[in-house]
Structures are given as C-alpha cells and as structure tokens.
C-alpha cells in the first residue's frame, strides 16, 4: 500500500503539474474551449497506460514460473533504469518545463491543429503515466500486492489530484521544490529496493546462478512471509538473508543515485530555438 501510495503521489503530482500548465496557459490566453481537447489527450494517455499495464500482467500470466520470475526481475531493473533517468530529467527540466509546454501549445494553436494539442497532452502525460505503470507493475510483483496495493495507488492519485486542483486554483499549500526533492529521494529508495528484488527474481528464475554468500539471517526476527516482512520487502527491498550481490548493488545504487540527485549540479536545459519563441509570442 505504501509503495503504490508513494509512487502515485509523486508521479501523480508530476502529471497534475503538466495538466495544470496546459490548462493554465489556455485559460491565460482565453482559449478555454480547448480544455476538452487537453482532457481528451489525458484520457488517451490514461487508456494507453492501462492497456500497457494489462498487457504486462497478461504476458506475465502466460509465462511458465521461471520465465515469469525472469520477466518480473527484468521489468524491475528496467523500471529502476527508467525511473532514475526520469528523476534526473525532471530535475533538469523543472525550471524550463512550463515554458516548453506553453510554447508547444502555442505552436499547436498557431497551426490550428486540435490533433496536435491532443497529441501534446497525450504524450506529455503518457510519458509520466508509462513510467508510473512500469514502476507499479514491478512493485506489485514483490511481497505485497492485491487490494492494499490497489488502494494505495488510488489514494495516491487522489492526493495528487487534490494537489493539482489546488495549484490550478492558485491555493496550493505545497512547497514544490522541497516536495520534488524529498519525493525524488523517496522514489530512489523505492527503486533501490527494486534493484535488490529484481536480482532476487533473476536468481529465482535461474538466470543468476548465485547471489553470493548470505552474511546474515533475520528471518527469525522478521519473516519474509509475515505481513511486516512483505511490507518491508515491497517498500525497501527487505530480504531476511540477502546475498552479497544484492547487498552490494542495493547500496551502490542508493548511494550513487541519491548522492548525484542531491548534490550534483544540474545543467540547465538549452534555450528554445528562435522560431519557437516567436510562435509563442504571436499567440500570447
């Protein structure tokens, strides 16, 4: 529940921000009639994400148990890679994303293309949505799953929608910069858990013959089959007797990624080409 809640709050707020930027810009230039076009794009993106999630789930069910383990392990590591790239991309783009989206809306309106506007909303939201889908699919394959996992996801999206609404109304209480920094670190911690779990799944599939010696065993204190064990496994990648490969990859990923996310200066995105600036100016 906590895993899906944290993921959907963070990713949901990113999605909400994109929608708010698009709607806010249309409102500011008196083009509210295109609101439905934006929502259509959001709907297309949501449908595509649900289809991808259902496709992943169906594909996993069709596989033999060892192939399924390999598929799940591979998906977890893919989710980690995608999520890490997106966390850094979002950090780099945070200062320029609003301007970029407004310029793209202006260009679409300048061409009088409703389809371009739908595509813009669908691709912008879909990118975040697909990342969320992959992350949730990977997370659901760990100890915790079922109804609590679904409930956490719904609750997280509800919180994100409320935050998005308050931003749109100009009454947001959420300090954006600390929110994205803290939630970025939380997401990296969740991803580190997926690194450990992904390796465990690949070992269970027989892809990795061994995960090395297991230096400790805490199963007597927190069994992996207990509710608490499953919860910790899903959220933090807890394993009662992890192999050295899991331990090393977990800490290497966590320290390197969180360190780079928090302390490395990010290059600002490049300035837009002159044509895009003039398009935006003409419509505005």
């Amino acid at each position: 529940m906590l895993f899906s809640f944290l993921v959907t709050v963070r990713e949901g707020v990113e999605i909400a921000l994109i929608v708010v930027i698009l709607l806010g810009y249309l409102r500011s230039i008196g083009q509210r009639r295109y609101f439905s076009t934006i929502w259509l794009g959001v709907g297309v993106a949501a449908a595509a994400c649900v289809a991808v999630g259902a496709g992943l789930e169906l594909a996993a069910r069709e596989l033999s148990s060892s192939a399924m383990e390999a598929f799940e392990g591979g998906t977890m590591l893919l989710a980690v890679a995608l999520l890490t790239m997106m966390a850094f991309w979002m950090k780099r783009q945070s200062s320029g994303i609003s301007r970029e989206l407004r310029e793209q809306v202006a260009r679409a309106l300048g061409r009088g293309s409703v389809a371009a506007l739908v595509l813009l909303a669908a691709s912008s939201v879909g990118r975040e949505g697909l990342e969320t889908t992959l992350f949730l699919f990977a997370g659901s394959k760990n100890g915790e799953g079922g109804l609590p996992f679904l409930l956490g996801g719904v609750l997280g999206f509800a919180v994100a929608a409320a935050i998005g609404w308050s931003i749109y109304r100009g009454s947001s209480w959420l300090p954006m910069k600390p929110f994205f920094t803290i939630s970025g670190v939380v997401v990296i911690v969740l991803a580190a858990g997926l690194v450990s779990n992904g390796i465990a799944h690949l070992h269970e599939a027989g892809v990795l013959a061994s995960v090395g010696p297991r230096p400790w065993d805490t199963d007597g204190a927190i069994s992996l089959t207990s509710t608490l064990g499953q919860f910790l496994n899903t959220v933090l990648g807890y394993d009662s007797s992890p192999g050295l490969v899991q331990i090393a990859c977990y800490w290497l990923y966590l320290i390197a990624t969180a360190g780079a996310f928090l302390f490395l200066p990010v290059a600002k995105p490049a300035a837009p080409p002159p044509a895009a600036r003039s398009d935006a100016a003409r419509v505005a």
């Binding site: 529940m1 906590l2 809640f5 944290l6 709050v9 148990s65 060892s66 383990e69 915790e144 609590p148 956490g152 609750l155 919180v159 209480w173 959420l174 300090p175 600390p178 929110f179 803290i182 465990a200 070992h203 269970e204 599939a205 027989g206 892809v207 013959a209 061994s210 297991r214 065993d217 199963d219 069994s223 992996l224 089959t225 207990s226 509710t227 608490l228 064990g229 919860f231 007797s241």
Partner: protein, 117 residues
C-alpha cells in the same frame, strides 16, 4: 517544511495501516526436507481448509524455491541453502500441488491429498 505536514501525516497513516498485522497464529506444523537431489515427502495428506505451517528445511548446498502450482494458493518462498523457512498454507482439497525446485535445476512436485473425515 511545516506545509508538508498533512502529506507526512497521510504517509504515516498509510504506513501504519499497511504494517499492522502479523503472520497469523500458530498452526499445526508439517515438515518438508529439501536436498539437492529432491524434496520429501512427495505426498501430504491434509485436511481441506485447515491452515498448516509448512516448515521447509533446505539441507542442500543450493538455494531452493517452494511455490503452489496449477492454481494452488501458496506464497512463493525462497529457502537459502542450509536454512529453514516457514509459510502458512491452507489446502483447498481440490488436488493442490506444491513445487519444490532448485532455480534453473531439478524439480519435485508434492501432491496434497485431502484428509477424509
């Protein structure tokens, strides 16, 4: 930071809701022994709908896995080499099967027979 308080409170509530609860009370125990040559016993007679705790001893040199197959509801369990793990299991009485295997290696299927009366 104080403005993040509602979100942090929601987070703590979700954590408590999720983490509360245990692995259930004590149930009759059924021993399963794994070696690198297979798994014993290969047949268990258990009362349908009565939960038991499977105590799985891995006496081999390799990690072993236990899981329900063909619709059998059993939480997947990795038992590292030389370790013992426990998992609760409630037989359905409809031909349950448990697969014990070495990842990428040999497999033994334990047939669960329903206990009469």
């Amino acid at each position: 930071m104080r403005r993040l308080a509602p979100l942090i409170i929601a987070l703590c509530a979700a954590t408590l809701l999720t983490a509360c609860g245990g692995s259930g009370g004590s149930h009759p125990q059924v021993e399963i022994v794994q070696t690198d040559n297979g798994c014993t016993p290969v047949e268990l007679t258990l009362a349908p709908n009565k939960t038991v705790t499977l105590v799985v001893h891995n006496q081999g040199q390799k990690d072993h896995e236990v899981e329900g197959i063909n619709g059998t509801k059993l939480q997947e369990l990795l038992v590292p080499a030389g370790k013992t793990r426990q998992v609760n299991f409630t037989p359905s009485g409809k031909g349950d099967q448990i697969k014990c295997y070495i990842p990428g290696g040999s497999t033994t299927v334990i047939q669960i027979k329903p206990q009469q009366g």
